[in-house]
Amino acid sequence: MNLEDDILIEKFIDKTLSKEELEVFHKRMNADKDFEKKVLLEQQLWEVLSDDDWSFMSKSTETSQAYEEIFKSDEIKELRTTIKDVNASYQKSKSNVWIKWVSFASAAAIAFIISLNVLNTASPNELYEVYSTDKNLPSYVSREDGNENELIKAQLLFENKEYEQSLALFLNELKNSDSPDAGLYLYTGIAQTELNDFEEAEKTFNALLKSDLLDAQKGAWFKALLYLKMDEPEKSKGVLEEIIKQKWYNAEKAAKLLKEL
């Protein structure tokens, strides 16, 4: 292929050919099979080697037809069932670990509170203001699911400190989502904290901690902050101790905050 054709194909892939140029291009593809093959390979190169794309097969091959037959076989159907069963028991065992931890953490926090005889030297509310500034929450701005507009709107309202309106949207998403992500719980819980709806905030963070989501542990950090805002430093200390012990999210910050309490 010469450089001229290379530039032409590049323009075709970039969709920068004019209407007239595109017409000529298609005519040439139809008439010249070699040229068509070159275009196809160039397109595949782009699809495979650009990170955000994927090269789909448009037609089956002899081998793909053979794979399809294997997928249909009883042997693979049985394997599909086995994998599903393993997945179910693996996910269940994972969530049991979380339930055990939550029970343990609650007991540990109560024991810790009872055993302590502390004189507070710092204002918990002041510490809440300091430590709640850096929330490091996930962004919904680039999501591609159908709820993107509502979630983006909720996030933007949250960022503008319009917590009431933001909370209403997040609660709605939480209610209607089959598999809410950790971010949804966090935004909801923090908005409830900011609105001094402490009981509901605690419930939200506990729900996150009980979930088997990867970021479930983040619930502990925001629960510790919630207790500061509630002027319950002892409860906050109990949670912070556990964060440090388990080396969870923000463990270093938790150690720093604990010293300041």
Partner: protein, 187 residues
């Protein structure tokens, strides 16, 4: 090279104990990746199951050899299946009728061929010179000629264009020479 066939054999034997071990070692990393890339828990579970089935079916047909560790390979397959899913929704917008008609088995079979194409192209990229590899990686990352010129200190954009052209030609030559390329030609 480490022999990874025992993992693949364990899948075909439906060895629950071994499959559980594969889950324990690999699933959390895959779940993390999918969560970080617009997915949820259900997506992670589906992709992991699809990947295991893909490996089993491919091994059943052609006893292929995994050239890296099993863990690294499984992660790549999961990443690619997720990349495929994300792009499928883009494709659906323009091609709804066709995509709705295909069966799951057909789609899963196509995913294996696409994975093989991905392997062929990426392995071929590793065979060209370091300079060519770098320039093409920048080019396919959609970095413009001017930026490549600055980054790699070429004299002009035209020189960069010529270099990209030559490197792409070399890469295409390697791909076309590989017998896997001809097997991947669509009917």
């Amino acid at each position: 090279m480490k022999d990874n066939s025992h993992h693949l054999n364990a899948l075909l034997k439906r060895d629950s104990k071994e499959i559980t071990a594969i889950y324990t070692l690999n699933y959390p990393k895959v779940e993390r990746f999918i969560f970080q890339n617009k997915g949820n828990k259900q997506d992670a579970e589906d992709i992991f199951q699809k990947a295991l089935l893909q490996l089993a079916v491919r091994y059943k047909k052609e006893k292929f050899i995994i050239k890296t560790s099993f863990e690294a390979y499984l992660f790549t397959v999961c990443k690619n299946l997720w990349r495929r899913e994300l792009n499928k929704s883009k494709k659906k917008v323009t091609n709804t009728a066709i995509l709705e008609l295909v069966s799951e088995d057909y789609d899963d079979a196509m995913a294996i061929e696409e994975q093989k194409r991905w392997e062929l192209f990426n392995e071929s990229l590793e065979l060209i010179s370091d300079n060519c590899k770098l320039i093409l990686k920048l080019f396919f990352a959609k970095i413009g000629y001017a930026a490549i010129m600055d980054k790699l200190q070429y004299n002009s954009e035209n020189v960069v264009r010529q270099r990209v052209f030559k490197c792409k030609a070399k890469l295409k030559e390697l791909i076309k020479k590989d017998k896997r390329y001809h097997a991947l030609v669509e009917l």
